[in-house]
């Protein structure tokens, strides 16, 4: 790097140029083969494995000086790990950060897709703990890679069928498996299945990084993403029947908050930006009246 870097002794955005190039190549391959897990030479990062190293490497390989970065964990900008990752890129890349979904050019996320619809040109980077959707059915990577090559996804359908036989419904509430462009079975990372419809034909580029497992995969903009289901048991999201106690939203994902030790609960939006924006609008509306 010839130009000054924000953190002395380290490259811009931490990773060296060759590593970034290697990751960008993996990204291009991932975009070319939607849903396919591309092995990549994942590096050790100064944050622990399992805490977002895959997402961080994607972000580091993508982030430019003009980017605006948003980092969320559980939908919130102020959870500790989101704060820590955002601070990492402020420190190593000196980029502008935001909590506003629509202002961000790059959003790194753990376990959620923002409620505010994404726009063309935005990139959503997911942190992925276990990229392999077949892992719980087959522990061996050599075998699951073969299953993907042959599109041998019967065992997954059998598992879902057995859930229905046993529980009356598919007992998968997050990391709900999807088919991408009718070819590759893919894990959307542990987002709640509530978020699955947002994967489908999203105008944003969605990239998934698994650092410890050394895989990158992608859903290019406007791709078909179908959540697995059966004709007589179509994929659906049960309404939770609550409203956010802060902004009143009934159609966002709500977290249950325990209020006291008598079991009193309240429900609040997991997406803090969405919730805050709604509250601001409500206040403005009231002020106007």
């Amino acid at each position: 790097m010839t130009s000054a870097t924000p953190l002395a002794g380290y490259s811009y955005a931490y990773l060296d140029a060759q590593t970034k190039r290697m990751i960008r190549r993996a990204i291009l391959k991932a975009v070319a083969v939607p849903g396919y897990q591309v092995p990549f030479g994942s590096r050790e990062m100064p944050l622990p494995y399992g805490w977002g190293t895959g997402g961080i490497q994607l972000t580091a390989a993508l982030i430019g000086r003009d980017d605006t970065l948003k980092v969320i964990d559980q939908g919130a900008d102020d959870t500790t790990n989101a704060v820590s990752i955002r601070a990492f890129f402020q420190r190593t890349a000196g980029v502008k950060t935001t909590t506003r979904t629509e202002e961000a050019s790059l959003i790194q996320t753990r376990h959620r897709i923002p409620e505010t619809p994404l726009q063309p040109g935005q990139i959503l980077v997911y942190q992925v703990p276990i990229p392999e959707p077949l892992r719980w059915l087959e522990p061996r990577e050599s075998e699951t890679r073969r299953m993907h090559a042959w599109a041998e996804y019967g065992p997954m359908h059998v598992k879902l069928y057995e859930d229905i036989a046993r529980h009356g419904e598919i007992a998968v509430s997050y990391a709900y498996p999807v088919m991408v462009e009718g070819r590759y079975l893919m894990s959307p990372s542990p987002i709640p299945k509530f978020d699955n419809p947002k994967l489908h034909r999203s105008p944003a580029l969605q990239l998934f990084g698994a650092g410890r497992e050394k895989r990158i995969y992608a859903i290019p903009p406007y791709s078909d993403v179908r959540s697995l289901d059966f004709q007589d048991h179509p994929f659906r999201i049960e309404p939770h029947g609550h409203a956010c106690a802060l902004c009143g939203s009934t159609d966002s994902f709500l977290n249950e908050v325990v209020m006291d030790d008598t079991g009193k609960r309240m429900h609040v939006c997991s997406d803090t930006d969405y919730c805050t924006t709604r509250r601001d609008h409500l206040e403005q509306g009231e002020a106007a009246e």
Binding site: R43, D78, A87, P129, R140, E169, Y174, L246, V268, T272
Partner: protein, 373 residues
């Protein structure tokens, strides 16, 4: 009011402050210096360099200091630094036969060419706490004497034990992975693991692997989970020269010297159809004085060769994917500890799901009540 989701930033800053204070401890006690750690905690430094995959005693000592003595954390720190370093070449194959030996033992021959040299080892100490070390001034003379003697390398050349058995073809020839100069060596820090893994890749993964994990796996082979009848053919410790061929020169130059521990296991092999019985090898190599690691590595290396040697693969130590995917403590500690991160959203989804299933269960239970009675 609901406040638990805010304040993450301040909480982190406060935690870092507390960590700094906890690391320093009582300010009335003098601060540990890097030089002290490097000189007096040498085995910790060696382990951190080994599993951190970086030979740099100063940085390893710094990592140990910064990690408050937590070696896995120190390994993590060193790895995170190592990953930023440029690669400017690959060294020539290290010639351990030409090692300036400080310790060298064989368990398969009473005497060997070059002799048995115990060197600085805990092996035959009685593990009695030496209370004289409590008094810092007291042990001074002894320590100086010990370190002076430890530094004395054994002068005469010592051929490897393998060479002794080679004459009768009793020991298998070194495999492809030992082919030497010119052969491209796999590097899992640059390319993700692929299976089946070559022996070079396996050895690299084992060299970086957690000592405790490999110790337990090696031990399990001794207890019947993939037994391969190991003998310590030879363990040697000492310094070797590192040579490199710079592109612009085209011939090797010595760039320095490092300390290594090497273990050559000799294992039984029943033979195969059309092949007379022959001893097989397991190999371990580690930075510094890291004998337990080198031995564990050699046991597991041999166990992982089961498939190549046509042996049944039924013990965990023989299972390549199991061993290689779980040996790295930086990966393992990260993923285990990520469970501390919030999982509100997933747990919320599970709550909703369990409630829904329970509701359905209650309904159907109600239906079946008459039949049960």
């Amino acid at each position: 009011m609901y406040v638990s989701v805010t304040g993450g930033e301040r909480a982190i800053a406060a935690a870092h402050r507390q960590l700094g204070q906890a690391r320093r401890g009582d300010p009335a006690i003098p601060e540990l210096s890097i030089a002290q750690i490097k000189a007096q905690m040498t085995l910790a430094v060696d382990r951190v360099m080994q599993e951190g995959s970086l030979h740099d005693p100063d940085l390893a000592a710094l990592a140990i200091k910064q990690a408050r003595g937590d070696l896995v954390e120190a390994i993590f720190l060193l790895r995170a630094y190592r990953t930023t370093l440029p690669r400017f070449g690959t060294s020539e194959v290290v010639k351990t036969a030409a090692m300036r030996v400080t310790r060298r033992i064989s368990a398969i021959f009473k005497d060997v060419p070059g002799g048995q040299v115990l060197g600085q080892t805990f092996d035959y100490t009685h593990r009695l706490l030496d209370f004289s070390l409590m008094d810092e001034a007291e042990g001074q003379g002894q320590e100086e004497e010990a370190s002076r003697r430890a530094a004395e390398a054994v002068p005469h050349p010592m051929p490897g034990i393998a060479a002794v058995l080679d004459g009768e073809s009793l020991l298998e020839a070194p495999g492809d992975a030992d082919a030497g100069d010119g052969a491209a060596v796999a590097d899992l820090t640059r390319r993700p693991l692929e299976f089946p893994a070559g022996r070079d890749l396996r050895l690299q993964a084992l060299a970086r692997g957690d000592e405790g994990f490999l110790l337990a796996l090696g031990y399990s082979t001794q207890r019947g989970y993939g037994n391969n009848h190991p003998f310590v053919g030879e363990i040697r410790q000492g310094s070797v020269a590192i040579s490199l061929v710079p592109e612009e020169l085209g011939f090797p130059i010595e760039i320095g010297e490092i300390e290594l521990s090497e273990c050559e296991m000799v294992n039984q092999f029943a033979g195969a159809p059309g092949k007379p019985p022959q001893f097989t090898r397991g190999y371990g190599l580690a930075f510094g004085e890291n004998e337990r690691k080198a031995m564990s590595m050699a046991l597991v290396d041999r166990a992982l060769r089961a498939r190549d040697l046509g042996e049944p693969v039924d013990g965990p130590a023989q299972d390549e994917e199991f061993v290689l995917y779980h040996a790295d403590n930086v990966e393992a500690q990260g993923f285990v500890q990520h469970l501390k991160l919030p999982h509100y959203v997933d747990f919320q989804s599970e709550l909703d799901l369990v409630r829904s299933i329970r509701a359905r269960f209650a309904d159907s239970d109600h239906d079946g009540e008459g039949e049960q009675a």
